[in-house]
C-alpha cells in the first residue's frame, strides 16, 4: 500500500542524469560527492547556458545598441527578475548581482557601515558565522570605532536566544547572522531575530549561502533588510551571487566601488551616481554567470523547495542514524532544525586523515574548520569531517560513506 507523502517524491535517478560530473569514477570508485555545502554540482542547463552565451551572443550589456548586446542585456535582466522572484523581493531594483555572499557582506558592511555606525555602536553576529560574515564587520568596526558582539552557541549547535535578547540594545545597529550554518547545518530562527533586532532599531543582514538550495526564502515576509546568496552553492556557477536590499536603504547607501555602469554623469568636479541596482554594479559584470544563474533558479523551482527538503531531510535522518552506529564517532551539530549537513569526528584519527582515506575510495567530504574557527573553538576542536548532501544524493551513497568509515576504523586501530 502506498503511504501518503507531503511533497511529490523526486525521481532521483533521472534527476542525477542532469549532472554530468556525477557520472565518473574517482580513484577507481564511483564518485560520491558529499561536499555540497562548499559547492554543489551544476546541471546541464546551467552549463549549457554558459556555453550558449559565449558561443551565441557574447556582448557587453547595457548601452549597446547592436543585436548581440541587446540579447545579452535581456538575458542578464531576466536573471535579475528570476532572482527577485526566487527571493520574494518587491522590486527587481532591489536585486544586486555580486560575486557571492562574501562580496555582498563586504558591500553592506562598508557602505551601510559608513553612514550608520558611530563610535561605540554595536554589530551583533553569531558564534556560528562563516569568516566571511565576521571579517568584513571587523574591518568596518575598526574603521568606525564600533564593537562586535557575539550570540553564543549551545552544545547542540543552536543559538542561545536568551543571550541574543540580552545582547540587544539601542547601541545595536546591525545584526548579521546566517540562515543556516555551514559547519553544523543548524537552521536559525531568523524570523525572531529579525523582529527583535528591528524592535531596537537595528538593521538585519541574513547570510543565506547555506539556505538558498534548501529552504523557502521570502524576504518580504521575513522583513530582513538584506539577504544574500551565492550561486555556486545552489547549482549555479561560481563567481556570482545576489544581494537583496530594501530599496530605501540601498538608495541611502553610498556606492561600494566606483567605475563604469554605476554613474549618471562624470566630471572631474562632481560625479552623480546611477540609480539602484546599477549604483552597486560598477564595471562590466559577470555576464555569463549571471545569465546561467537563472538556470539554477529554474532547476530549484522546477523541483520545488518542499520536495527538495523532503528528500534531503530523509538523507540527513538516514545519515545520522547510520553514523551514530560507527565506533568512536562524535557528531558535531545536533540541532533539531537542520539543513542536510552533518559534521563529525572519529576518535583518534584527525579529520584530514579521514578525508584523505575517504577520497581514496572516491568519497568527497570536507575536512577542517570550514572557515568557522570561532565555532570550532567553541567546541574545543580544530576541525571536523563534514558530509553535506544535495538533492541528487542517495541513501546508497551514505552507505558508501559508512563502509569507508568502518574500514578506516578497522584498519587504523
Amino acid at each position: 500500500m502506498k503511504t501518503a507523502v507531503t511533497a511529490a517524491e523526486l525521481d532521483i535517478p533521472s534527476l542525477r542524469k542532469a549532472f554530468p560530473v556525477l557520472h565518473q569514477t574517482v580513484n577507481g570508485h564511483p564518485l560520491v560527492y558529499f561536499d555540497n555545502a562548499a559547492t554543489t554540482q551544476k546541471p546541464s542547463a546551467v552549463i549549457n547556458a554558459l556555453v550558449d552565451y559565449y558561443r551565441g551572443y557574447n556582448a557587453n550589456i547595457h548601452r549597446g545598441i547592436h543585436t548581440l548586446a541587446e540579447k545579452a542585456t535581456r538575458a542578464f535582466e531576466e536573471s535579475r527578475v528570476a532572482a527577485q522572484k526566487f527571493l520574494g523581493a518587491r522590486e527587481k531594483e532591489e536585486i544586486i548581482f555580486v560575486r557571492g555572499v562574501t562580496e555582498a557582506i563586504n558591500l553592506v558592511a562598508q557602505s551601510l557601515g559608513s553612514i550608520l555606525l558611530q563610535p561605540g555602536d554595536e554589530i551583533l553576529l553569531s558564534g556560528m558565522e562563516h569568516h566571511s560574515n565576521i571579517v568584513p564587520w571587523q574591518l568596518v568596526a575598526e574603521l568606525r570605532g564600533a564593537l562586535i558582539k557575539v550570540i553564543p552557541v549551545t552544545e547542540s549547535g543552536e543559538l542561545d536566544m536568551a543571550a541574543f535578547e540580552r545582547s540587544l540594545s539601542v547601541k545595536t545597529k546591525i545584526v548579521s547572522v546566517n540562515h543556516a550554518s555551514n559547519s553544523l547545518g543548524t537552521i536559525n530562527p531568523i524570523e525572531t531575530i529579525i523582529q527583535k533586532a528591528h524592535a531596537v532599531g537595528a538593521k538585519v543582514l541574513i547570510d543565506g549561502a547555506q539556505a538558498a538550495a534548501h529552504l523557502e526564502i521570502d524576504v518580504q515576509k521575513l522583513d530582513c533588510d538584506f539577504y544574500c546568496i551565492s550561486g555556486h552553492k545552489m547549482y549555479g556557477p561560481t563567481g556570482v551571487g545576489v544581494l537583496y536590499g530594501k530599496r530605501a536603504l540601498l538608495e541611502q547607501m553610498p556606492p561600494y566601488q566606483g567605475g563604469g555602469e554605476m554613474i549618471k554623469e562624470v566630471t572631474f568636479e562632481k560625479t552623480t551616481y546611477n540609480d539602484i541596482p546599477y549604483k552597486f554594479e560598477a564595471g562590466t559584470p559577470n555576464i555569463a554567470d549571471v545569465i546561467a544563474l537563472k538556470g539554477a533558479f529554474d532547476f530549484i523551482n522546477g523541483l520545488g523547495k518542499e520536495a527538495i527538503r523532503a528528500h534531503e531531510n530523509k538523507l540527513l535522518q538516514y545519515a545520522v542514524t547510520r553514523l551514530t552506529s560507527v565506533k568512536g564517532i562524535r557528531l558535531i551539530g545536533t540541532a533539531r532544525d537542520k539543513v542536510s549537513v552533518q559534521s563529525f569526528l572519529l576518535e583518534g584519527i584527525h579529520p584530514f586523515d579521514v578525508g584523505q582515506l575517504l577520497d581514496a575510495r572516491g568519497i568527497a567530504v570536507r575536512t577542517g574548520h570550514h572557515c568557522t574557527q570561532p565555532l570550532m573553538d567553541r567546541f574545543g576542536i580544530d576541525g571536523t569531517v563534514r558530509a553535506s548532501f544535495a538533492v541528487y544524493n542517495t541513501e546508497a551513497e551514505i552507505d558508501r560513506l559508512l563502509e569507508g568509515l568502518t574500514r578506516i576504523n578497522s584498519l587504523h586501530r
Binding site: 577507481g28 584530514f352 586523515d353 584523505q356 577520497d359 581514496a360 575510495r361 580544530d382 587504523h412
Partner: protein
Amino acid sequence: MTIAETQKEIINDFALLEGDREMSVMYLMDLGEKLPAFPEEQRIDGNLVKGCQSKVWLVATLRKDRIYFSADSNTAITKGLVSLLIRIFNGHLPDEILDGELFFMNQIGMDRFIGTQRSNGFAAMIQRMKQYAKALKTTSGIQA
C-alpha cells in the same frame, strides 16, 4: 646509505603497493606510527613547521657532525610524510642534506595521493630541514 639510495629503497617499497591510493595512504600512516616518540618538551610553537595545514613539530640535533631529526604531527598522514624525510636525511652531514636532491616524490606518485595542500606542506618540511642543516653546519664548524 646515501640520500639517493634511501630514496630508491622508498620507491621500491611503494612500488609494491601498485599505485593503490588507499593502500599508499595507509602505508604512510603506518610509517608515521613507527617514528620514535617525540619529546614532550619540544612540542612548542617555535618548533612548528610554517606552511603546513597540519601541525608538524620538527627538531634537529647534531651528533658527531651528523644530523638527526625528530618530528611529530597531529595528523597521521603528515607524520608518515615527515617520517620519509627523516629516513632519508637522518645521520647525514649538513652538506649532504643541503646538497641532497629529492626525487622520490614523483616516482611514488605522491602528488596523486596527498594532494596540493599537503604537497605544499611537504615542501615546507624539506625547507625547514635544510634550514636546520645550514644552521647546524655553522655551529659544527665544518667548512664547505
